[in-house]
Symmetry: none
């Protein structure tokens, strides 16, 4: 059984979510997004994180500038991507090579043409000059103290057209001091048996090799596995397979396979169980719909529907699953959802400090969650809304105030500014109501949700000074059913920070304002009652 | 180069979308859906279509009953799925075997246990009796005139546990007259190198083999390719990879690979170009969101964003795509983004029918796009907004109307309903303005954007009856700077369908209503001017 790699302890993962992943249609990372993703990848323990192409666009340049002070990596090393110097120049004088040095990353990954047709037609230089560009740029950067890797672009197509030249580029990179020459299936047309043959041939050069696959034949992960079996020491890919066209090799699946199928440790001890969580968190930042069927991390990936299976699973779960999902943090990391059972609810209740629920209470709560998920609610992230649901169920207070009226209105005349105002009227309930009547506040804001937040805060502050320390930090909108135009159901998630702890509330409706309002009110409700236990 | 199969003309595709595909979480086919999908698969020319398990559930029984009169297949043969007879009985007396015969399909696919642990723990019978169940059921059905195939469930896990027994099941199927013994990776845990070794070993039995893979390691397609290289004559899978957990091998990708990478004709002549269309149509019936990154058929699968690529594509498109997308009925698309260069803009302009732009015009337009992307706009998806930008740049008309005023207002009293109203006032410009003054319309809606759409449509219809056929089909919101609460910048994308063609517009602002309004107005602007070339 081939389950062993040529160098089982020697595979390094190279993440290019922030560079090649960002080439995906519809995906655009802000500098802040990039910093957050880099921290998540570092937390997972990936070896190398490619941050972008400094000097090529302002966003990437700014990322490296901010990374110097704002990004403290503990497990990973940061990589700056760039190209070999221009034809006919000197690496030492090349402005883009200079930008790479200035980026401040300890590792530089250079893209080099390795298909002679691309050298001629796209780069418009000679085969010899292209080799000189590789040698000069690698030698220069190594001398400057950087670790240098070379992405051999279009290597496989190049090899199939002109194997000698493709291999010359690999040799030039290795001889000039590159630590790895990465064989790229840039157009993504390979299948594993081709990879096996070509990597085995390239390996004879003695240059340490890496692999970079795209998924155009649906084989990006399998091609990466084939290359690992044939001896590469580095696998490049992206979180969740983001990338141009069909995407890159999904590192989530690559990690799952290497760790559980090959017994090859590519993450620091104990981190594998964070795989699903990191995959979902990166998806949230990228604002991409989760892939329910994603291997290892997908919501459906360990779900069973067939009655045939379900009965057998009760006898022995291992009969119907290829690995224990807890290994990769699936199922176990699921918070509260319709798929969860009583056990999750019991666990969550004690996590929130509600002590032991009865089996019956837990079952009823699971049913409520399932019903609400049918309407579009999701409690996996919305812990504060789930707590309010649980409080209601246990007869504990869920609110210290009542909303009497709210209104939000936007208007614009001609090309003038858009003006938005909101009015909110609240009345304290319980003890507080003895001392005070209703408070009505009008506020303006950047958009109706902001205006409503300002008005609601203003009205509540009158009665509850403690919410002064409560701050909205994130606001996310997801359309649940595509294809219905502007009257589709939307789900809004709002993150609120109180005492340096972030909690999340959820609202659902066909009206984005109504859904936002629900999440907004629940955020303040939760902030006020969450400490109250009776 | 391994690109040849052992039997290049001998691969038959076996589609199980209607049976195994229907096991996917969230997917449910009505009988009508199944009939429609079967007709599409037949139109594509797949060899075998598994319709379901007659006798096991009413939906599948009804499908086979209706198929007899309502489903006329021209290329494909219909398959009924079922299990071997019960332990200790006789196939001739088994009620589920009887239901299979009554289904009226010419081909029967029987599932048989081939992992000795499953025989013992799940089936609770002996290894010998399980073999007898295979022999008896296959012999009986062959004698009754059916072509019989045997799905060897858990074959690969079984082989790894007890190779002798797994192979015995294959031999029993073959010796009893089954036309194919299908090796199933039921739990989906295999990787291609394992498949290669095990299929090669099973092939020595001389029984014609098939392969059935699940995608739990992200290798379902690659495993199917490995099995094809090792000699199987049948590949089972589902359209778009639908299926339990991570899904089955995606036949769309399998077909693309076999036809374009191996030169193996698995579809009748001329049908390959229908691949993308059938994939999308089945997705519509299944009510599943399209997978933009799906190999061969995905909307993004031949889309290019990087400026580096675009300039080379103008020289020779084959340098940057693994196949000509027209082969599989897809198109190459250029995405316009700040990362793109002049070349993308030039290509996009000619794609939109604006002919050749000068280099200077293209450069200026790239600069405008880059500037607007800094503000949060994105033109990758928003083709209609890009066209408006280009029209403005070329001095072509961008609007036939002017908005004088708009207002949107939502309010709620206590626990009553949320009421939203909008008022829009427009004035036609140009020729139309001679005949008509301003029109003001008030409308209610599900939320402010819906209400604004209703009011704007109402006001415009007065002057431009042609927009009656224009329909909003999707509405997406993206928060651009996380971490700023409700006053973050948002980007809204709106899809509009006109004459069965979908175009997209974009709006940006700190106010979600303002951003939505911009995208909404641009949608109607574009609908009215897009045909005008001077």
């Amino acid at each position: 059984m081939t389950e062993s790699l040529s160098n089982p302890s020697g595979i390094t993962l190279f993440d290019t979510t922030l560079r090649d992943g960002a080439q995906q249609e519809g995906l655009r990372f802000s500098v802040e997004d990039k910093l957050r993703i880099a921290r998540l990848l570092d937390g997972l323990g990936l070896g190398l994180i490619e941050g972008g192409w400094p000097g090529a666009n302002p966003n990437d340049t700014s990322f490296f500038a901010r990374a110097r002070t704002e990004l403290e990596l503990t497990s990973s090393r940061l990589v700056a991507f760039g190209a070999t110097r221009r034809p006919g120049g000197r690496a030492a004088d090349d402005p883009l090579v200079a930008a790479l040095k200035e980026a401040g990353a300890p590792v530089i990954c250079l893209v080099a043409k390795s298909d002679s047709r691309h050298v001629e037609k796209a780069l418009r230089t000679t085969a010899a000059e292209n080799l000189e560009m590789v040698r000069d740029t690698v030698t220069h950067l190594v001398a400057e103290g950087f670790e240098v890797m070379v992405d051999c672009e279009h290597f496989f197509d190049g090899y199939r057209h002109d194997p000698g030249y493709a291999l010359e580029v690999v040799r030039a990179a290795g001889e000039s001091g590159a630590s790895v020459a990465v064989l790229c299936d840039t157009n993504g047309g390979m299948i594993p048996s081709m990879i096996t043959e070509i990597v085995a041939d390239a390996a004879r050069l003695g240059v340490p090799l890496g692999i970079h696959c795209h998924n155009d034949t649906g084989c990006a992960v399998a091609n990466s596995m084939a290359a690992a079996e044939a001896g590469v020491i580095q696998i490049q890919g992206t979180l969740n397979g983001y990338g141009e066209r069909t995407g890159n090799a999904d590192l989530v699946t690559v990690i799952g396979n290497l760790e559980t199928k090959y017994g090859c440790r590519v993450l620091p001890a104990g981190r594998l169980a964070e795989l699903s969580g990191v995959a979902h968190a990166v998806g949230e930042i990228a604002n991409q719909l989760p892939q329910a069927r994603q291997p290892y991390a997908g919501r459906s990936s360990f779900a069973h529907k067939a009655g045939l299976h379900a009965s057998a699973i009760r006898i022995d779960p291992d009969l119907y699953q290829h690995i224990d999902p807890a290994l990769v943090g699936n199922d176990m990391r699921m918070l509260i959802s319709g798929m969860s059972g009583r056990a999750n609810v019991l666990l969550k209740a004690s996590e929130l400090g509600f002590g032991e629920l009865t089996r019956e209470q837990a079952s009823e709560l699971v049913d409520v969650v399932k019903e609400r998920e049918v309407d579009g609610y999701s409690y996996e992230a919305a812990d504060a809304s789930f707590e309010l649901l649980m409080r209601e169920h246990l007869g504990l207070p869920t609110s210290l105030f009542e909303v009497l009226f709210w209104q939000a209105s936007s208007h614009q005349t001609g090309q003038g500014p858009v003006t938005t105002t909101a009015v909110v009227s609240v009345h304290p309930t319980g003890d507080a109501s003895r001392q005070a009547g209703a408070t009505t506040v009008e506020a303006v804001g950047d958009g109706p949700v902001h205006a409503l937040d300002q008005a609601l805060r203003g009205a509540l502050l009158d009665h509850f000074p403690q919410i002064a320390g409560c701050r909205l930090t994130d606001y996310r909108v997801r359309i649940l059913d595509d294809g219905h135009g502007t009257d589709a159901t939307v789900r809004v998630l709002i993150d609120t920070e109180i005492d340096q702890r972030i909690t999340t509330t959820v609202g659902v409706g066909t009206d984005i304002i109504e859904a936002s309002w629900e999440a907004l009110v629940d955020a303040y409700r939760h902030a006020l009652v969450s400490g109250i236990r009776s």
